[in-house]
Every structure is written in structure tokens, then in C-alpha cells.
Symmetry: C2
Subunit: 412 residues, 2 copies
């Protein structure tokens, strides 16, 4: 069972928008054991879209299309699907009635807009869109089947989850291909390869390395019957986590802020953060976690020296003597925020995110970390490579990992 995903829009081929629909769909379709063989993106050109749909219907069993279902002139995907599958466009009376009811409520659409939204290739199966006006639809064509969804991400997700996923779950299949992602931090690709060397022959799953700003992701892939695949994946995961120890922070591909956030919530450990070079990113990441308010008290983004002194009680003399980017100031920030917030843990960052501000002694990318806990406080030092954005991201991940290690009882 092979799938192709086709996303449509001039904003994608023009590089103005990063395509997140492809990645979402590839992940969800892959989870069903269906192999995604190709992702494609084309602009708003009806002939080009029709041609790529025809090719895709020849190459794959399932074709997933997103984008271009709205009522404006650049929304031409439905015509392209009709062209590619040799169908006429018709106005669906049921869909039209629904749309009329919807727009009566909102008082916001002309009859032409309603007709345009209610037009679909004949004999399509309509798929409800609970999040917007543009319905999805599906067509069987030869041995293949095409699913068409809107391009706005939350509408695409609504159509996919409620209308398409149930169909995929019912598809018969003898063989599945499943990939599991293990996330690590704090070790390079070659260090990991060295540690896995002695056990590499025991790892039955296919193994891929993917270096990312916050650490290396390991991708384990297995193909076969579902039982066999699940057994291989869990056995391979066990072998790898035994070899790499706590450097694997998630065997399920989760981001570190969700892992750390849930550890804090589950253990009832409260935290406050004092950020300088990360500029609020650690606070932002922790507050992505639903329910974090039970344990996250505050983050003080103390960018200026006076902010460090008067909002974190870092002595001005300490900054004067060692500089704001120093282990001494990192430690004082962590202690200060913990003290002020009355939390179990205080975490701090201070460094030089760049692109300017570096010196020979304190280069761009240098970051000091402080972690204050019940038994005292510790500091760490890292030099990260990359742009301002990358340095901030790496520093935030490292800081969160320090909290994780602290909770695991290892200290810094």
C-alpha cells in the first residue's frame, strides 16, 4: 500500500510558507503502516495540478491532496481533480443546503461563493469539514483512491482525523512499515555510533541518524506483519536505551519540553526560570505543556544588568567583577529566581546568542547555566555553534535537559 501526498499553493512553491501539512499527513499516514513514497508540491495552475494528480494516481494506491478548495479564483484544485479523473463538475444539493444554513448564521457569503463551495467532481464522496466551510471529498479511480482536503492546517486536520483516518484504519493490509523516533541530546552522531557498535548486530530494526539543533534523533524502522514489527521495534528500543542510558530522553519522539514538563507535573516539583540569552524561550517551551501552571511559577527574562540585579538579586558587584556572562552570575540568577519564587528548582541561562557581542575570551555561542535546588546549586558551560536562533534553541534544550537530569538524580 503506497501513498503520495500532494500539497498545492503558490505560497508554497514561492517559499513564503513552510509546508507543515505534508509532514503532518506523512506522520499520521505512516502510523497506519502505509508507506508514503513521495511528497509533492505544485503552484496554483490547474493543468499542472491535474497532470501531477494523474501521475500520482498511476504511481500510488492512495493520493492525498491539500489546498485550493476555497471559493476564490486561486482555488482550482477541484477542477484539477475533475480533469485528472475525467469527471464533470456538479453542484451537490446537500452540500449547498448545508452551506446556505451555515452562511445564514454568519451573514457573510454571496450565492456565487456558496455555489463555488458546493461544486465538486461528480460521484465524489463528500467528507465533512467540522472546522470550516470547504468540505473535503474522495474519489475511487481505477485501483487508486484520492482524498482531497482544504489547505488551512486546522481544517485539513479536522477533515483528516474525522473523515479519512477511519477509512484508512479499515483498509486491509498484510504488511506494515512503522518508524519509531528516539530522541537524544548531549551526544554527537559519532559518539552514539561508537556506543551502539557493540550491540549493532542485535538491533533488528533499520537505524537512521538525524542530527538536529537540540540533539540527534534515531529513527528505527521495521516492516512486516504488525506483530513482528511491534516486537522488533520494542526490542531494538530496549537495546539502544540500554546502551545510551539517560541520553535518550524520549523513546516516543516527544520534544524535550513535553518530557520535562510532564516529569515536573507528575512529581509535583515546582520550577522558576531566570533567562538572559534564551530571552523567554524556555518559558515559552514549558508553557506549551498543558497543565504546566501547577508547577511553573515564573520566568524572569533579565536581559539588562539592572534587571538581573533588581529582579533576581544578582549583586551588581558580581556582574562588575565577572561579567554578566559568567558561571558566577548564572549561579546567582538561578538561586535568585528560586528564592524569589519559592520553588523547588531554579534554572538560569546567560550567554552570547550573537551575531554580535562575542570576544576571544567569550565567543558567540558561549552559554552558562545555573541550576539551584534543595541541596545547593551547580553551573554548566557550553559553546554552541549556529545562528542567533539556533544558539537560543540549543541553549533552551540544554537547560531543559539539565532539569531532566536533576530530576533523574544525576545532578549537572
Amino acid at each position: 500500500m503506497r501513498a503520495i501526498i500532494l500539497t498545492i499553493g503558490d505560497e508554497l512553491t514561492g517559499g513564503h510558507t513552510i509546508d507543515t501539512n505534508s509532514s503532518y499527513l506523512a506522520g499520521r499516514i505512516g502510523e497506519q503502516g502505509i508507506r508514503v513514497s513521495r511528497l509533492e508540491t505544485v503552484g496554483d495552475d490547474v493543468k499542472v495540478i491535474a497532470r501531477q494528480i494523474e501521475i500520482a494516481l498511476g504511481d500510488a494506491d492512495l493520493v492525498f491532496v491539500t489546498g485550493g478548495l476555497g471559493p476564490t479564483s486561486d482555488d482550482i484544485t477541484k477542477e484539477a481533480v475533475a480533469l485528472a479523473t475525467g469527471r464533470k463538475m456538479v453542484i451537490d444539493p446537500g452540500l449547498r443546503a448545508q452551506l446556505e444554513a451555515r452562511f445564514k448564521r454568519y451573514k457573510s457569503a454571496t450565492p456565487a461563493v456558496v455555489d463555488s463551495l458546493a461544486s465538486i467532481p461528480e460521484n465524489s464522496e463528500i467528507i465533512e469539514n467540522r472546522a470550516g466551510a470547504a468540505a473535503g471529498f474522495s474519489i475511487e479511480h481505477g485501483d487508486a483512491r484520492i482524498f482531497v482536503m482544504p489547505g488551512v492546517p486546522h481544517e485539513m486536520e479536522a477533515v483528516f482525523v474525522h473523515g479519512i483516518l477511519p477509512i484508512l484504519r479499515r483498509l486491509p493490509r498484510s504488511e506494515v512499515t512503522i518508524t519509531r523516533v528516539l530522541k537524544t541530546t548531549g551526544m554527537s552522531e559519532s559518539t552514539i555510533a561508537g556506543k551502539l557498535e557493540p550491540v549493532i548486530d542485535e538491533i533488528e530494526a533499520g537505524l537512521g541518524y538525524l542530527p538536529r539543533p537540540g540533539g540527534v534523533e534515531l529513527r528505527l524502522t521495521a516492516r512486516g506483519s504488525e506483530d513482528r514489527v511491534m516486537r522488533i521495534l520494542s526490542e531494538s528500543t530496549r537495546i539502544i536505551t540500554a546502551a545510551l542510558g539517560e541520553r535518550v530522553y524520549s523513546p516516543e519522539g516527544e520534544d524535550i519540553h513535553f518530557v520535562v514538563g510532564r516529569m515536573l507535573i507528575d512529581r509535583g516539583v515546582t520550577i522558576a526560570v531566570a533567562e538572559s540569552c534564551t530571552g523567554g524561550l524556555i518559558g515559552h517551551l514549558l508553557t506549551q505543556v498543558p497543565g504546566i501552571s501547577a508547577v511553573f511559577d515564573r520566568a524572569i527574562v533579565a536581559y539588562s544588568n539592572s534587571a538581573k540585579t533588581d529582579s533576581l538579586d544578582v549583586p551588581a558587584a558580581l556582574i562588575e567583577e565577572h561579567g554578566a556572562v559568567s558561571p558566577e552570575v548564572a549561579e546567582a540568577m538561578a538561586r535568585g529566581v528560586r528564592e524569589r519564587a519559592g520553588t523547588d528548582i531554579g534554572l538560569s541561562t546567560t550567554g552570547i546568542a550573537g551575531p554580535g557581542g562575542g570576544t576571544e575570551e567569550k565567543p558567540v555561542g558561549l552559554v552558562y547555566f545555573g541550576l539551584a535546588g534543595l541541596e545547593g546549586s551547580e553551573t554548566g558551560r557550553m559553546v554552541f555553534r549556529g545562528s542567533r536562533e539556533i544558539v537560543k534553541l540549543k541553549a533552551a534544550v540544554h537547560g531543559l535537559d539539565l532539569v531532566r537530569c536533576h530530576l533523574l538524580g544525576r545532578g549537572l
Copy 2:
């Protein structure tokens, strides 16, 4: 002149990684007036890659490939290019010598790794990689030309900017297609369409609407000689900004934090932020702007009520009386952070990001804003739709826009 971008990696077709290379390249190539007709992604399968390269070389004048150039077993792009263009793989002696010198310094590669990295299809032109070990390369094939780059984003960018962009700039071309993005916030698609109605016939450029979490992006596209295109784009931009006024925050596709950050820096206006529901995101966005430390003093992410009281001087009685999510508390937060930091402006957010915590009176997505300045303070109220992440993002953009409007002298 038509281009196709092909990105390679099982992590992409598996949905484990969002492909940002395609979007980056599409944008940069499009800026050169070259039309990107298709983006494609395939997994690590040498035959599939070779086939798609062959098809792309038939369909386009320029083919850009990223990913799969490293020394590990899943790095097979070079073999695929050799297969597609009918060339043998050879070890390039100059490249090998460079790699040996590089690895001598780092003491970290076996001879097999060096040979693998130095192998390229014969008669390729090598393109230096200043950011890593895997060099790029280029091949002329019939009337088309293929450029191959590593997949790690900062290495891809280094190879593209230093080695490929200069070649693209020298290409002869009679006609260019250029798209300009105007970013707006605070108006819906249909409101914008209504305001543009009276002048729509004067807008010579093609006009596309793209709704995004922080506002609607307008895409203007023109084709023709470079002179003509530039004239059409600037005239169309002038007409649209005249019709929409200050709701256009960037006529050059810039994100709002860069626009606001630079306004603050240019005018020497200092700012401090008090965040509750945005959780540090406003601080994070502002600190993405190089040089912001001259004007950004601090962000206090006061998640708990006690943090609001003791780090922002919000009276406990005020929270008791009105609740933490209220205009009164938003105003007190903005005043408090401005006072404490001694800045010109204080900005605050307090709201319910969800998914839990909403009530009938105060639903998920409700956010209050406070802005304190020299002449006093004001508050605003919005209800945003979407996930926790989307609500945070919309609230951060809206908060930054309040600062922009304040600086433009309009108040809230």
C-alpha cells in the same frame, strides 16, 4: 527558466521532520526571478531518487537537490545522481586531500569515511561547503543543470549562498517572475477584500490571500522584464498600503517582531514585558532581533498569582476581586513591569491559552492586554480561536502590534 526542488530523506516522507529546506530554497530561487514549478520529497531509496531526478531534469531547466550526502549507509544521493545522469562515481583527489586535512585536525574519520565523502559523479563541479564536511556539486546534463547540496539546513544554506547563488545571479534571462509579500494583522480576509474593492482594477500585480495565525498575508506577483516587474510591484504595494493603512505592518514580508524590534531600536524606545498566558513567547520573539538588548530590558513571565504580586506589584486584592484574567490585572501588570524596569513602555498579556481552564464567562482564547506608556495606560481584549500553541502565537502577535500602533501614535 523553470526550477524543481527535490529534498531527500526517510525522515521527511515519514513525517518526523518538517522540510524547511524546500521553502528556503524556493524563496531564494524565486527572488532571482526563476519560477519554481514543483517541490518534491522522496525517501532514501537510490532507484526512486534516480527516477525522480531524471523526470525533474526533463521537466525543468534547473534542479536543486538536498540531503543524503553524508558518509553513512543511508546517504545515497550521489549514487542516484550518477545513475540518473549516466556517470561513474570517482574519488576526487583534491576533495580527498581537503577532507584529510580537515579530519586530521578533528581526529575523527576513518579512511572509508573520507573516501565516501570524496566520491562524486565524474566531471562534477565541486561546490565548497564552509559549514561541514559534505561538499555540494553541480552537473550540466543536456539543457538542464543539477545542483546537489547537503540536507543539514545550515550546511545547505552555506553551500547555496556561497556556491550556487552567484551562479544563479549570472544566468541570462529575459523574463522574471517576482512575488512580494505584504503582511497585515487585525483584519480578516473578507474585510481586506472589501477595502481593496474600490481600487482592485488599479492593482496590476496578481493578488493572493493567505490567512495565517497572526494575520492575513497578501502575495503580489508580477511577470515580465525586471524593470516592468519592479514597477508593477511597487505601484501595487503603494495602492494596497494606501487602502489598508497601518494594518499593513510589513510591505517586505518581515515578521512582526523584527518590524517592532527595529522600530524600538531606531527610536531608542525602551520596553519591558509582563507575560502570563504567552509564557515568554513575546520575550523570545523580541530577543530574536539582533541588537535588541539596547532597548529590551526584561520580560517577567508571571504565571502564578504570587509571581504577579511580588514580581510585578499587582495587588493581591485586585486579583482576588477581578481574577487574574481581567483588564484590571492586565493594566496593573503593564504598569508594574514598566515601573520596575524604568522603561518607556510596559506591555502585558493575561489570558486562557487552553485547552483547559475556560468558563462560560471567560472562555479559552480570551486574552487581555495592557500597554503602559508615558501618558498613562490602556487595555485591550481579544478572543482567539485555536490550539494552545495558536492562541499563544496570536496573542504574542497582537501584543507586538499594540506596541507598533503605540509607536505610530495611535494608542490602542
